[in-house]
Amino acid sequence: MSAAFTETPVFDLTRHFFREFFYLRFLTDTGADSVKRAIIGSVSGLLALSILFPQFVVGRYATMRTVEEYRRALLSDQLFTICVAMFIVGFVTALVCQSLFPDEIDYRVLTPLPISRRLVFATKLLAMILFACIFVISTNLIFGLAFGAAAAGRWAEYGILRRMLAHACAAGLASIFAGASVMSVQGLIAVLSPRAYLRSVSVVTQTAMISALILSLPAIAHASSYAVLLQTRAAFAFAVPPVWFLGLEQVLLGRRDPYLLQLAVTALVGVASAVVVIAACYLAIYRRFDQLVLRTSQMPLRPRLWPAWSRRVCDRHLARRAFARFTTTTLRRSGLHQVVFCSLSAIGVAVAINSAIGFGTGSTPRAQAAIAWRFVEAMLEMPLVVFFFSIAGVRTALLLPLDVRANWVFRLTEDPATKPQLLASIERSLISLAIVPGVALTFVIQSVVLGAITAVRAALPTALLGLVLVEWVLRRWHRIPFTCTYIPGKRPLAHGMLLTLAAFVVFINIGGGLIHFSLDTPGRYVMLCGVLFAAVAVLRRTRLARSVHVPLEFEDSLPDDVTVIPF
């Protein structure tokens, strides 16, 4: 790159804004390094898997017996890869959509400099486009070009170049549509929401979009079954954006069916509309940038909901109340913490939904009975799956620091006598944010599917298993939420993933199996509840007794034991 270009403000500002996407302000240098290691590990793993993807596709299409089978499989796989490309780009854009526009720091630092506002906005947009392009291009290399080339076999109807270009074009436009839609929603909120509520609305929308995308994962996993919409010329297809792009791909391949043409036009209009909305929002925000950036953060007045006597009761546990209010207020107002908690909880719900759908109908009575048994067990495991991910979500959100430099107020008022109250408040947070919603949500589903009596009977051991998990998660907890520095990924990635997977399998399968096993026999039921109750009591007592002697942590540290690589 020529020095003349690299020394221009455009290059400097674009590079600055681009780097900002990877800068994790809330972590210390050690924590950020740890995240980088974890990301490099994950990306390497995904790249290794992506090399296998074309080989898998080639093998699959080589075994097709008829042209009809090939066409069905191709259509399904085209839709699936389009969905995956849309999900990846949409998800990444939703993660960074708060950085769509220059923020207050940019405003305060850059405005006094002799550069125009136009330049600041243009370079920010350019950095955002470059960031999105990384994901659009990489997903389309794998799911666009590589899939287009590999999905051949002896029944292939079009040339390799045409297949590759058509699929890459459709998947590329689909991913651009997904990213642009997320950006346009965020842009509309920035323009239309009242100034006092802008930040909170923006954070809630971002969390909702990320959660919705995660909840769409079971639908993406079963995307191949929606290809039938195209074959049956269903009007419903116009409500499913990935199908628009599937229609566009068919048109690009040379099919001139009016229905497909209509879908292709819808896809192009969709992309154009999203881009126009983004441009309009950007222009509107550009014009009233200072008003938006230097907005007031007025909080709405909240009426008192609790009577005076309840406040007198609460006075007995002042510290617990302080910790609890600090936790709930932070979770309510901090976008980062909300996103982490809601995303992990949404993964739990998505996994639970996925495990409860897709059961076939057995051909023999014995097979039908086995499927019915497995289905009941999946329904009983559903709340445990939700607990597992929601508890992980709450725990991770509480671990992430807010502003480490502000923790002096807790260090100054640290009192060993209030530690039990702190632990009680964290325990309550986990129960109220993970266990109670998990039980309530799945109780309704279980009541509808398995019947109210079974749901009521399953609720107690399910809740007790949740409490066991809470106790297990809190066994070494010695920090005030959001106040301690955090070093994520202390274990090697593969080690951590294996442990999590093992814990998941053990908790879900054994837990679900025990509940199912105990439901029909009162003796077993009472025994299971008794054992679980005793386990909760013992774990809780041990934890509280041990915690009194351990001081609060304000600095996270790497484990003492060093992993030696033998050579």
Binding site: T296, L318, A406, W408, F410
Partner: protein, 255 residues
């Protein structure tokens, strides 16, 4: 009385504070002066219990802070140098959090917070997040938080930074009256004029050691100079600022 005896702090071989000793009697405001990096903030952090001293001891009314850290911390109010606050909270929420952590009962706390917010001219902004506050407003919140539990020892690290003239005058008067009630104040600052007007005595720190101490009201100092500025310049071996200023100008004009 508050006493620091032989207070020392090492950071991986670097001696930040070296055998510092001073005392603050009831009714006294002790100014704690020194150039950047002299060890002022390290001393302050040890006094309020945010840092463990490597050696030496701290005593509040004869009680060792290492023996009863929680009891001593309950009697200390602290305003840090930088207004590090949880900026997603409102002023009321932040003060309530601090009050509850200090063990103040709700009814008394609510009344106290309301009155303090009025007196510190923050009542109108009580429902705004602290992120929307100016530096001076945040400083006022910190001062209100430090006074909330009626402390015996007030530790102030640059408390006037960001305050406007009227707020500065109010706090100066407040500190004098607070000390007159028999409380103790440790006042760390770069502002010599303010220290001279507020403090009854001053210690000057340089390279982690106390290099001078003076009583401001009588101007009776160890070096015999009448002005605190002169005492400070001599004790901390300050450079000739005219030469440095000329050097800066020459750098600016060097193209």
């Amino acid at each position: 009385m508050f006493e620091a005896r032989g207070l020392t702090r090492r950071y991986r071989g670097f001696l930040a504070v070296d055998k510092v000793s001073f005392e603050i009697r009831r009714g006294e405001i002790l100014g704690y002066l020194g150039p950047n990096g002299s060890g002022k903030s390290t001393t302050i952090n040890m006094v309020v219990g945010l840092l463990e001293p490597s050696a030496g001891s701290l005593h509040l009314d004869g009680v060792s802070m290492s023996e009863d850290p929680v009891g001593c911390k309950r009697r200390i109010g602290y305003v840090p140098e930088e207004p590090h606050l949880y900026t997603h909270l409102t002023a009321t929420e932040y003060l309530t959090l601090v009050g509850h952590l200090r063990g103040l009962a709700r009814a008394r706390l609510e009344a106290r917070i309301t009155r303090l917010l009025h007196l510190f001219a923050l009542f109108e902004s009580r429902y705004s997040a602290l992120s929307a506050y100016s530096k001076g407003m945040r400083q006022r919140v910190l001062l209100a938080a430090a006074l909330l539990h009626n402390p015996d020892l007030l530790v102030l690290d640059e408390p006037f930074s960001g305050l406007d003239v009227s707020a500065g005058l109010l706090f100066r008067t407040l500190l004098r009256l607070f000390a007159r009630e028999g409380r103790m104040i440790l006042f760390s600052s770069h502002r010599l004029d303010v220290v001279e007007k507020v403090c009854s005595s001053v210690v000057i720190l340089h390279h982690g050691r106390i290099v001078a101490s003076t009583v401001t009201s009588t101007a009776d100092d160890t070096t015999g100079s009448p002005s605190l500025e002169d005492v400070f310049a001599r004790a901390t071996e300050q450079e000739d600022y005219t030469i440095v200023a000329k050097d800066i100008l020459s750098v600016m004009q060097d193209v």
